[in-house]
């Protein structure tokens, strides 16, 4: 009987704590600007790590040449940099607004992952995050464009200023953005400009 009362008390306390936490969370509101809590991060990263099939985890990047790296640089600048930034740091307009935020891929949390884990993440995406699955369903682990990206991610800690400059030219831009960039560069070189009121960019 005592055991039963104790068990009931613990259950009631747990439910009350969960309800209080839920109430506080709902009252505060949900914003993608927040960062996940430590518990949320631990649970999500552990589950994600466990969800990578072992045959993928053991894969090694078959590519290593400078032309493969160049292909990875170009692909990343065009497809990934909008969220991840050219330097992989994630400090972009979209990246800062995602929940969870893209990781700084130059850091050990990404660099310590195996080639296969990185490949699997690009191909299959990450559920409940902004990372889409870029691979075809049921594809073999032979997508060379993805391996180019894995090679580039490995290279991020040693990225040069020249590579960053090259990537800026490869980032997707609208016609209006290109015109504006030309105008800004012309102004910096000493040319005249039509208008120099601060321009707002709602994206």
């Amino acid at each position: 009987m005592r055991k039963r009362t104790l068990l009931l008390s613990i259950t009631v306390a747990c439910v009350a704590a969960a309800a209080a936490l839920g109430w506080v969370t709902i009252r505060r509101g949900f914003s993608a600007r927040d960062n996940p809590s430590a518990i949320e991060t631990l649970v999500a990263t552990t589950a994600r790590q466990m969800a990578v099939p072992s045959q993928y985890r053991q894969l090694r990047n078959p590519l290593s040449s400078s032309s493969d790296l160049q292909a990875g640089i170009e692909h990343f600048a065009d497809h990934c940099a909008t969220c991840h930034a050219n330097d992989g740091g994630g400090d972009t307009l979209f990246g800062k607004g995602l929940y969870p935020k893209p990781p700084d891929m130059r850091q050990k949390e990404t660099q310590n992952k195996s080639d296969g884990e990185l490949y699997y993440t690009i191909e299959n995406g990450i559920r409940l995050s902004g990372m889409p699955a870029f691979g075809e369903e049921h594809a073999e682990a032979g997508d060379m464009e993805t391996w180019n990206l894995v090679l580039f991610i490995r290279h991020l800690p040693n990225q040069t200023a020249e590579e960053l400059q090259q990537m800026e030219q490869l980032n997707p831009k609208t016609e209006k953005e290109r015109q504006e960039e030309d105008e800004e560069q012309n102004f910096l070189r000493g040319g005249s400009t039509k208008s120099s009121k601060p321009k707002s960019h709602n994206q």
């Binding site: 839920g22 949900f30 914003s31 993608a32 600007r33 400090d91 307009l93 979209f94 800062k96 607004g97 995602l98 929940y99 969870p100 409940l128 995050s129 902004g130 200023a161 400059q165 504006e180 800004e184 102004f187 910096l188 070189r189 000493g190 400009t193 208008s195 120099s196 009121k197 601060p198 321009k199 707002s200 960019h201 709602n202 994206q203």
Partner: protein, 106 residues
């Protein structure tokens, strides 16, 4: 109860796909004042715009990385900045161009 749980789950899923909408501003002009914390720029319309700078602000000159110390009064600049909660602008990038003096000597 089930409705609440479903609503919470939906909100979690939807929030993870929402992109933040920014309001980046491009400021173009000539530097009239510079300090460790901010730079004031005079635009072509003679308006003065003050932009805060921080350790996260990236400086470049002729396409190459530069330092805050490379910024001088009279330099042409293009600053990409975001408005902060207090309405002040915080520079994300500062591109330094030619100086007024060097233009006059050309």
């Amino acid at each position: 109860m089930i409705r609440t749980i479903v609503a919470l789950l939906c909100m979690t899923v939807i929030s993870s796909f929402c992109f933040a909408h920014g309001n980046e501003q491009h400021v173009m002009g000539t530097v009239i004042k510079v300090s460790e914390e901010s730079v004031s720029v005079e635009t072509n319309t003679k308006a003065t715009v003050a932009v805060m700078i921080s350790s996260d602000t990236k400086f470049s000159k002729n396409g190459a990385p530069a330092a805050p110390g490379d910024l001088h009064i009279g330099d042409r600049v293009v600053i990409h900045a975001m408005p902060m909660k207090d309405g002040k602008l915080m520079a994300h990038t500062v591109q330094i161009g030619v100086a007024k003096a060097s233009m006059q000597s050309q």
